[in-house]
Amino acid sequence: MPRRPYADPYVAGACLGLVLLAVFVISGRGLGASGAFAATAAGLDHAIAPAHAQASPYFARYLDGGGPWRDWLLFEIGGVVLGGALSAWLAGRLHREIERGAHASAHARIAVAFAGGAVMGFGAVLARGCTSGLALTGGALLGVGAWLFVIAAFAGAYLAATLLRRMWR
């Protein structure tokens, strides 16, 4: 299948806005991603050391209700993986590859990607959300913390990017 170009960013953005609006109307909560990672971490901690997870001020909240394995965001993220794979397949963009800059080795790219993920994990726990659950969702609802997070995240990213230029050039 030919690899089709990506959609116009404004059209894709408007569609994303409609998806977010639909989720508000259906569930009263927005989109999210980091919460699914937190629920999984809580579930893992609970499976290995139940008492530790129950006593943890961070993980315990994910053990309420249906428990970490019936978390709304965990199923939503499962859907993100499905939807991403389906969309990539339909557009002929489903390929095994490691995206990296021309001068970065695959090993270096994987190491920095993992480290970047871990740094984001720390930031998302501290901020109580990420680009989806805080920036997009809170941004559309005009939350003060969400807009503060957006500004801080762009600042942090631009600052770090100047040091990482060699990774992508």
């Binding site: 959609a7 960013p9 404004y10 953005g13 806005g17 609006l21 508000f24 259906i26 009263g28 989109l31 980091s34 999984t40 893992l44 901690d45 001020p57 978390d71 709304w72 199923f75 939503e76 993220i77 859907g79 993100v80 993986v81 939807g83 991403g84 389906l86 990539a88 963009r93 489903l94 590859e97 490691i98 790219r109 994987i110 920095v112 990607a113 970047g116 993920g117 984001m120 994990g121 930031g123 998302a124 726990v125 501290l126 109580r128 680009t131 997009l136 941004g139 609802l141 005009l142 939350g143 913390g145 503060l148 997070f149 801080a152 762009f154 942090g156 990213a157 631009y158 600052l159 770090a160």
Partner: protein, 190 residues
């Protein structure tokens, strides 16, 4: 019935709906090209401002939708959860998160899309994200003071500034339009 419709979000039906919402979310991110780290980092080098354009058009559309549906009485805003504000942790967390984003080239949501479309770097970001959340959760006690500092509750910009909701909506739309014009100009310069 006034929206939001779901009351209990851990029933089997609710989780099926969550999965469908995710499918739509993931497919939209993939169509936008946000499952590609190389495309995404273009934002920070001024070559491709897709992150800004997609994010702000999404915020504007959802914001306008919420505003009008609430005005028409379709959506009960008191039952829509505004993410809470904690000034210091969200400013610090945002800075750190942004640095991680520039390293990863993907955010937590788009890393799932990248991995789903076959990209090994996307999977590495997902695993790193999981390790970071797990590690931070395990070391949470030492972070708790910072985590709980400066709480402001579900504060919104209109409430904070003491101006009408509609005025802030208009201001955000205007800001986005100016931002889009600047973004197009930055891209053309390169």
């Amino acid at each position: 019935m006034t929206a939001p419709w779901l009351v209990d979000d851990s029933t089997a039906a609710a989780l099926a709906i969550a999965t469908l919402c995710g499918v739509a979310f993931g497919a939209t991110l993939e169509r936008a090209g946000l499952g590609s780290a190389r495309k995404l980092v273009g934002q920070f080098y001024g070559t491709d401002l897709v992150v800004f354009k997609v994010m702000f058009s999404a915020i504007v559309v959802a914001m306008l939708g919420v505003f009008w549906l609430a005005l028409l009485g379709v959506l009960d805003l008191s039952r829509v959860a505004v993410p809470g504000t904690w000034l210091v942790p969200q400013a610090v967390g945002g800075l750190v998160f942004g640095a991680g984003l520039a390293m990863a080239g993907l955010c937590p949501g788009t890393s799932c899309v990248a991995a789903a479309s076959g990209r090994g770097d996307g999977l590495a970001v997902m695993l790193g994200m999981f390790a970071g959340v797990l590690g931070t959760g395990l070391a949470f006690d030492s972070l708790r003071g910072l985590y709980e500092a400066t709480p402001r509750g579900p504060l919104t910009v209109p409430a904070w500034l003491g101006v009408p909701y509609g005025a802030v909506v208009v201001a955000v739309v205007a800001l986005a339009l100016v931002g889009f014009a600047v973004a197009e100009r930055i891209e053309r310069r390169r």
